[in-house]
């Protein structure tokens, strides 16, 4: 095989990859949104109030103007707007020296109206200001809908796998 053939093969691969990236499927769009949310939620070290507020606002931008939150095990249910989501995110960042959110086993299904139903295992690792580490692992279900601003989270519920 000469160099010209290798170059052509590489070029075809590059074009295929560019097309793959430029025109993601609905499923990949949703997965990308969730990955971006996890990245936005991450806190790697000390940060000032302004940086924390900006990060919290970024987290809230992944949510719809009204979002329903539910945690059966904690008897918590609320419909919140983006301001409240930002306040929760800010409070969490303020209390933790380090935060990391990971989603595993992500399954995306699409409903009849084009909404995306996501089931995943969310793992939140962190370290308190006093150096004490904590970890929360939950099965989560989310509902996302695509609007003018892309895919936004409309519902988040924590599944009660272990019921006391």
């Amino acid at each position: 095989m000469n160099l010209r053939k290798i170059g052509a093969a590489l070029l075809i691969l590059l074009c295929a990859w560019a097309l793959w990236e430029a025109f993601p499927t609905r499923k990949r769009q949703v997965q990308r949104t969730l990955r971006a949310l996890c990245k936005a939620a991450e806190k790697e070290g000390p940060e000032g109030n302004l940086a924390a507020a900006a990060a919290a606002r970024k987290v809230s931008s992944f949510f719809a103007p009204e979002c329903r939150l539910e945690a059966e095990g904690y008897r918590f249910q609320a419909v919140v707007d983006r301001e409240e989501v930002a306040r929760y995110a800010f409070a969490a960042r303020e209390r933790a020296a380090r935060l990391s959110l990971r989603l595993h086993d992500v399954v995306v299904d699409f409903g009849p109206e084009g909404e995306a139903k996501v089931t995943a295992t969310a793992r939140l690792d962190g370290e308190g200001e006093g150096g004490d580490s904590f970890r929360e692992v939950h099965e989560v279900r989310c509902l996302l809908r695509k609007g003018d601003e892309g895919w936004k989270i409309e519902e988040v519920s924590l599944v009660d796998v272990l019921r006391r």
């Binding site: 595993h104 086993d105 295992t121 793992r123 599944v159 796998v161 272990l162 006391r164």
Partner: protein, 169 residues
């Protein structure tokens, strides 16, 4: 200085000739290993302290998936509980079966009103939990580490369908 000469048989075993048949054998072994370590014996790495001291944070174990194909989980078994999928699972010990009543009084676990002998619990415990009955098709699972605050420990009844298998070692 040249490389040491290996006996022909050992050399053939360590560095076999790459023939189509040999390639097929390598692929077959790889596929069978993948299937075996996915559906039969699944490797696990413990992350967290809820099963200490039996299972230490960071320790490596194997999950026997067919454990409950022909039998039901028994009290004392350490099982893996599936969440959304199988990449992240919870390791817990079965302490009560469907229809039984579970309670914690003064840090001691009571099943059907009788204290349960739990040699695997080493640290002090002060948990209090009023009695509750385990529903049909469910099991009651708790971690071995009862020294941590009850609020920070995930335990309770779980659907039998979420049990992936038993921890073998």
């Amino acid at each position: 200085m040249g490389a040491p000469k290996l006996p022909p048989r050992l050399r053939a075993f360590l560095f076999p000739r790459w023939t189509p048949l040999y390639a097929l054998r390598v692929v077959a072994v790889a596929v069978l290993s993948l299937l075996f370590f996915t559906f039969v014996l699944r490797p696990l790495v413990v992350s967290g302290a809820s099963m200490e001291p039996t299972f230490r944070d960071g320790s490596f174990h194997l999950l026997w998936r067919p454990a409950y194909l022909f039998s039901a989980p028994r009290r004392g078994d350490v099982v893996a509980v599936r969440l959304a999928g199988e990449r992240v699972v919870l390791l817990k010990r079965v302490v009560a079966l469907a229809g039984e009543e579970v309670a914690f009084r003064g840090g001691r676990l009571y099943v059907n009103g009788l204290p349960l002998e739990e040699p695997y619990v080493k640290g002090p415990c002060d948990w209090e939990l009023p009695p509750r009955r385990v529903e049909e098709g469910h099991l009651y699972v708790v971690g071995d580490n009862r020294s941590m605050p009850m609020e920070r420990h995930d335990f309770g009844q779980v659907s039998r369908r979420r049990i992936l298998g038993a921890v073998l070692w």
